[in-house]
């Protein structure tokens, strides 16, 4: 049993009035891979370090399995951690690096060797066992750091941006390997990253943090399709969701076009008088020749399977940038005046940023 539980976990750094992690409540299931994601300063690494025991809690508690570990030393928490810079012991060989924790825990030598060899086999590190970390490439070092964690068979794996020092191609490849490994070993893993693509592709569930506060926890699809607030809506997804503040005027208009909502949302939005913001994903807005909302093409990014068209619309005297995901071929020219059409879900966010409704919207 190695579920993880944060209960009202709070940490305020010395000399700061604002908590780095504020009243965090989070349950991680046994064998689950959860990703903590957020911009820098969101408290994701602090949350991980609290679980590791490297950062004390000012309030609340942390549980690993059945045990409360809030005041347990890191070495007694039965965890393994992979650091962003790998933190390999430079004076020890790869094999010694991997065996270090076993040695500290008094595992007999033959057993140590066997486990190191087995782990090295899984990670394709066998040819490098006698080398020092400085003689390894970045990708190999990353694998040694993984190996050092795996060899221990701990209750929980903690990953602190372990892929951010790899080049783009290797990062994508290693991403898959980590997920495969986690599935195969069936272990609980808490994974921290600032990269929302990494979060979405890896996590069974993703927890989005901002300014030390948990914004939303859910499956990647849920975060994408049902973001609980403006921050999650803007943070998850690449390119980001188009967000247009519409103010408190009714009927709601983007530029000169009126936004009409389907179903129940229509009533709740048009009857209310609060400030609202509408959001729609790039795939939910299409560039057409003619349409009620006029726009000007600014850039066209042709990625092959899809084309991102960046346009600007005149909205209440300001020039607002929007992006549309189009299927190729796309023939529009820079500077060309085009129309826009809403084709998918439109999200409506209230004045406090929380989502009021998600519904089909059209422009009229």
């Amino acid at each position: 049993m190695s579920a993880v539980k944060y209960e009202h976990a709070t940490r305020t750094y010395e000399g700061s009035d604002v908590p780095a992690v504020d009243d965090l409540n989070l349950d991680v299931g046994d064998g689950e891979l959860i990703v903590l994601v957020g911009p820098s300063g969101s408290g994701k690494t602090t949350a991980l370090r609290m679980l590791a025991g490297l950062e004390p809690l000012d309030a609340g508690a942390v549980h690993i399995g059945e045990r409360e570990v809030t005041n347990v030393r890191p070495r007694d928490r039965d965890i393994a951690m992979v650091f962003q810079n790998y933190a390999l012991y430079p004076q020890l060989s790869v094999a010694e690096n991997m065996a270090f924790a076993l040695k500290q825990h008094g595992v007999p030598k033959e057993q140590r060797l066997a486990r190191v060899r087995e782990t090295a086999r899984i990670l394709d590190l066998e040819p490098y066992l006698e080398r020092k970390p400085r003689h390894l490439s970045g990708g190999q070092r990353q694998r040694v750091a993984m190996g050092r964690a795996i060899v221990r068979e701990p209750a929980v794996y903690l990953m602190d941006e372990p892929l951010s020092n790899l080049d783009a191609k290797l990062r994508v490849q290693t991403r898959t390997e980590v997920v495969e490994l986690q599935t195969r070993l069936g272990v609980t893993m808490v994974y921290v990253t600032h990269d929302q693509v990494e979060a979405m592709t890896m996590g069974d569930r993703v927890a989005v943090l901002k300014d030390g506060a948990l914004q939303q926890v859910g499956a990647p699809g849920t975060l994408y399709h049902e973001p609980s607030n403006l921050f999650v809506a803007g943070f998850i997804g690449s390119p980001a969701m188009n967000l247009v503040p519409l103010g408190d005027g009714r009927p709601v208009r983007i530029g000169g076009a009126e936004v009409v909502f389907d179903g129940q949302a229509a009533a709740s939005v048009s009857n209310g008088s609060a400030d609202i913001t509408v959001g729609f994903r790039p795939e939910a807005v299409q560039v057409v020749a003619d349409g009620p909302l006029r726009a000007e093409i600014r850039t066209v990014e042709d990625l092959g399977p899809e084309v991102f068209v960046h346009v600007t619309v005149d909205h209440r005297g300001d020039s607002v940038s929007l992006v549309s995901k189009m299927a190729p071929p796309f023939s529009g020219q820079l500077g060309e005046s085009v129309g826009l059409e809403l084709v998918g879900t439109t999200h409506v966010f209230g004045g406090d940023g929380s989502r009021i409704a998600s519904t089909r919207g059209t422009l009229r």
């Binding site: 790998y86 270090f100 020092n165």
Partner: protein, 285 residues
């Protein structure tokens, strides 16, 4: 050594580099010249040493024989070297044993008010040595520590400790924090963290610190001559015994000085090898 080759510089910068290089050599030679002259003098006869300087002469080891043969009642070469060796080794060992945990507490897990602690350490260096000599002498007399090795050991520990703590602290700060944390998560206790992570990585810094402490303790003269004039005298005092009021002594004094220098030079050479090996071990990234 391959790593020593200077980087190639082109254009104007090259002449700047060349002239700086030449200047460095000139300054280096100026500094080295007195040492060179001392070594030369130590192989001369007193007569040669005291006439107009000459580069070519009949080298002789007689001065070394003169200074090392024990003269009845006077401080002998062997006695002074033994005293110095014991005092230096014991005091530097104690300094390192105390300074390493202190530096850990100041650098890796800073104690509250660590800045004040650090300042307190260095503040003990503000007082001129001579201003403290009378109370120290009285203390030494009352505690029966005058003319003992123990007295100087205690003093040299006190003199070197602040310096060692400061140096080690800055070296320890260079150790990536994640390494210590990784060791902590991997199950290493304080001792394990020190022996398997901190000490091996900070080895060059520790070698440099120990070397500096050895040099200071070996060369210290003022306290030694004030507190241990009769027994427990150290090498610097022995060197001065070769200064005589009758006859020439320049060659003899040179020979004694060369002998006094050898252990420090050796220590420096050994420490330097350790330092280079440590530096070559490389950082983590």
């Amino acid at each position: 050594m391959r790593g020593d080759r200077a980087p190639r510089v082109v254009g104007e910068r090259r002449w700047v580099n060349v002239s700086f290089g030449a200047l460095a050599w000139v300054v280096g030679l100026i500094f080295f010249f007195p040492v060179f002259w001392m070594v030369l003098n130590s192989f001369k006869t007193e007569q040669d040493a005291n006439t107009s300087p000459k580069l070519f002469f009949h080298p002789t080891l007689d001065r070394y024989k003169d200074v090392t043969k024990s003269a009845g009642g006077l401080l002998s070469f062997g006695e002074a070297f033994t005293n110095s060796a014991v005092i230096v080794l014991v005091s530097v060992t104690i300094v390192m044993l105390l300074a390493i945990p202190a530096a850990y507490a100041l650098a890796i897990r800073p104690v509250p008010k660590w800045r004040d602690v650090l300042f307190f350490f260095i503040s003990t260096k503000f007082l001129p040595i001579v201003a403290a000599i009378l109370p120290i002498w009285i203390l030494g007399r009352n505690l029966d520590l005058l003319n003992t090795r123990l007295g100087l050991i205690i003093l040299y520990v006190g003199i070197n400790l602040p310096l060692a703590v400061w140096m080690l602290r800055s070296f320890f700060q260079e150790i990536p924090r994640e390494l210590v944390e990784a060791a902590e998560i991997d199950g290493a206790g304080l001792r394990g963290q020190l022996t398997s992570v901190i000490l091996p990585i900070a080895a060059p810094g520790i070698a440099a610190t120990a070397l500096l402490c050895v040099i200071f303790a070996w060369n210290e003269f003022f306290y030694a001559v004030q507190l241990n004039p009769v027994h427990g005298s150290t090498v610097p005092i022995w060197v001065t015994t070769n200064v005589s009021t009758r006859g020439d002594f320049l060659a003899k004094l040179s020979a004694a000085s060369v002998l006094a220098c050898i252990p420090v030079v050796l220590a420096g050479w050994i420490a330097q090898k350790r330092m280079i090996r440590g530096l070559a071990m490389g950082a983590i990234k």
